[in-house]
Amino acid sequence: MTAIIAAVGASFLASAVEFVEALTIILAVGFTRGWRSSLLGALAAAGLLAAIVAAFGLTLAARLPLPLLRGAIGALLLVFGLNWLRKAILRYAGVEGFHDEAKRFAGHTAELQQHVRAGAIDWLGFVVSLKGTLLEGLEVAFIVITFGLSSGQVGLSALGALAAFVVVGTTGFVVRKPLEQVPENTMKFVVGLMLTTFGTFWAGEGLGVAWPLDDLFILPLLAGYLLYSWLAVRALLARNAWTGAPEMVAAR
């Protein structure tokens, strides 16, 4: 049950974060190169991503035994999750800057306006929208496949991503501007925590670890990583205050 909730939750949160970033590109293309090319590019990318999830998710689930899948995928989740967790901790501690969707939007818009527009469908807009959505969506596909396979719930995991797509897409359509208010770092932090926790648990199982309490061990593991993250942020903040690093971060 824990794994199922996590599969849907992690997929939803990770997808929402990535779709917010993709939305910025889609909006920038829409406003500068036309909505037709922008939406067609985004739809083509969404189709490709769905095909990737279906092909890899279903093929691997059918061919590989669950213990092997959990071991290998747990290790992959661990690398990926630790990276997200690390970035979120560094942002909370002021060592790395937060994502600024408005700034990204302005950058994309300025770049796209430099090129002359031609034809009913603007191919530059189509390609930029497709590439942007595809690249942001690949992380979503990765999480949907890995979490879905390990929990044995590829369908539910994909449903979590689809729900995020609908929520972010609808919100973006209504407000028609980058979603700056979304707490991206908090969402990335939560997803990083979940990926790291489940990655540790499943990789351990695959490598021969017998966790105490079985599946219930996921909860103290999650609490432990949460405590570690809080301590790490405090320690980095204290260290930055001591060495004067925040001034240098602000100057970047």
Partner: protein
């Protein structure tokens, strides 16, 4: 051959990015956990947890030095 290098580079950036210490740490810890797991299932778990937290700590501590 170029496509292979580009694909490998893409996968590396996708999974690891600038957190190479995480990859190195896990490449050391995971096989060790597997070896220890043959003798002590619980010991392997403890080793894995210490290894993961140690790796993350090293990776986090490296960054402020870069900023300076």
């Amino acid at each position: 051959m170029t496509w292979l290098v580009r694909s490998a580079s893409f996968v590396y950036d996708f999974l690891v990015g600038d957190g190479w210490e995480l990859l190195v740490g896990l490449l050391l810890i995971l096989p060790l956990t597997f070896l220890v797991g043959h003798d002590s299932e619980l010991g392997a778990g403890v080793l894995l947890l210490i290894g993961v937290l140690g790796t993350l700590s090293v990776s986090l501590l490296r960054k402020p030095h870069l900023v300076k």
